[in-house]
């Protein structure tokens, strides 16, 4: 039931995008407001994952939406509107961050949680999580974007690959390398995982 409702809402969104694009291309610029309203949230969250700076994420989202407005005629309609928009936004975010990088520290210098796993409280756990997320920004550029887009697209490799305009195999290889670098930087994650696995087995 809920899946039907979800599919219906996605279909409505797709139709609304198509209708708004047609209206904009016919000369009704105000129809772009519908596209902005539907896509500002996803693009803001994507931009946030690229820079983890709220103000900058809003600026980058604004820039991506304005570029989408300028380039609306270039959408070929072979792929979905969302694929085109995410790929365009990824290009904008990439070039913005090339001009002014978000983080300049190498991954070896990224902050390391000071609390031992045994002492982990809710607060410490949240801190570890935030430091791991920030460490993603310290990854080498080619691995960073694969991680950002893979998790933004809810762990869908093909969606991440489409957004990056790369073969899935390349994205998978980069993800594996990025995960290895992160696990090397945060070995306590492996220990915690081993403890969780053991607890699951015992249960």
């Amino acid at each position: 039931m809920s899946t039907d409702a979800g599919n219906a809402s996605v279909a409505t969104g797709v139709n609304a995008d198509l209708a708004d694009v047609d209206r904009v291309l016919a000369g009704d610029g105000n129809a772009f407001a519908g596209i902005v309203r539907r896509w500002q949230g996803p693009l803001l969250n994507m931009a946030w994952r690229y820079c983890r700076d709220r103000g900058r994420a809003e600026e980058m989202t604004q820039e991506a939406l304005v570029r989408a407005w300028r380039g609306l005629r270039q959408w070929r309609r072979e792929g979905s509107f969302s694929t085109w928009l995410f790929a365009l936004a990824a290009n904008v975010f990439r070039s913005e961050l090339k001009r002014f990088p978000a983080v300049n520290v190498p991954i070896e210098d990224a902050a390391e949680p000071s609390l031992a796993p045994a002492q982990e409280s809710g607060l410490a756990s949240r801190r570890v999580a935030e430091e791991v997320r920030r460490a993603v920004l310290a990854l080498p550029v080619r691995y960073r974007e694969s991680v950002v887009l893979f998790y933004f697209h809810e762990m869908d490799v093909s969606a991440a690959a489409r957004t990056m305009g790369m073969p899935e195999g390349t994205v998978k290889a980069r993800l594996a390398r990025a995960r290895a670098l992160l696990k090397k930087r945060f070995p306590q994650l492996e220990d915690q995982q081993a403890a969780l696995d053991m607890a699951e087995k015992e249960a």
Binding site: G41, V66, P140, F186, L189, Q193
Partner: protein, 125 residues
């Protein structure tokens, strides 16, 4: 039915981001910029009709210059005789030294490129 993806701790951390809500002014700022671009006057088209004849004449002149230079170079090359070329001993020694300097620069460049590539593969840059 799809099998649930096995997530480890790293996956759980990176997949569980809190969702940000756009600020109230974001959509308005985007639409302000869009309307600003809509209201901007059309750019003045480039006057190709006026420029084209001048460009064609300039291109023809350039081509004529290149043809003349090539023709003169070929004529000079045909009249060139190696027997007339005599370099003093010191000049020959300088040339040999320059060759060694170039070779060492080449080796340095290759080793630098190789080191960069190896570091890049290691994910250090």
């Amino acid at each position: 039915m799809m099998e649930p993806v096995k997530m480890d701790k790293l996956d759980r951390i990176l997949a569980s981001e809190e969702e940000l809500l756009p600020s109230s002014g974001l959509a308005a700022s985007v639409m302000d910029r869009v309307r600003g671009e809509m209201d901007a006057p059309e750019p003045i088209p480039f006057p190709w009709k006026r420029v084209l004849p001048g460009m064609l004449i300039a291109a023809a002149g350039l081509i004529w210059c290149v043809v003349e230079m090539v023709r003169m170079a070929v004529a000079a090359l045909l009249n060139f005789n190696l027997e007339h070329l005599q370099l003093p001993g010191s000049a020959m020694r300088s040339l040999a030294s320059a060759g060694w300097v170039l070779a060492s620069l080449g080796v340095s460049l290759v080793s630098w490129l190789l080191a960069r590539r190896l570091i890049g593969r290691g994910g250090l840059v």
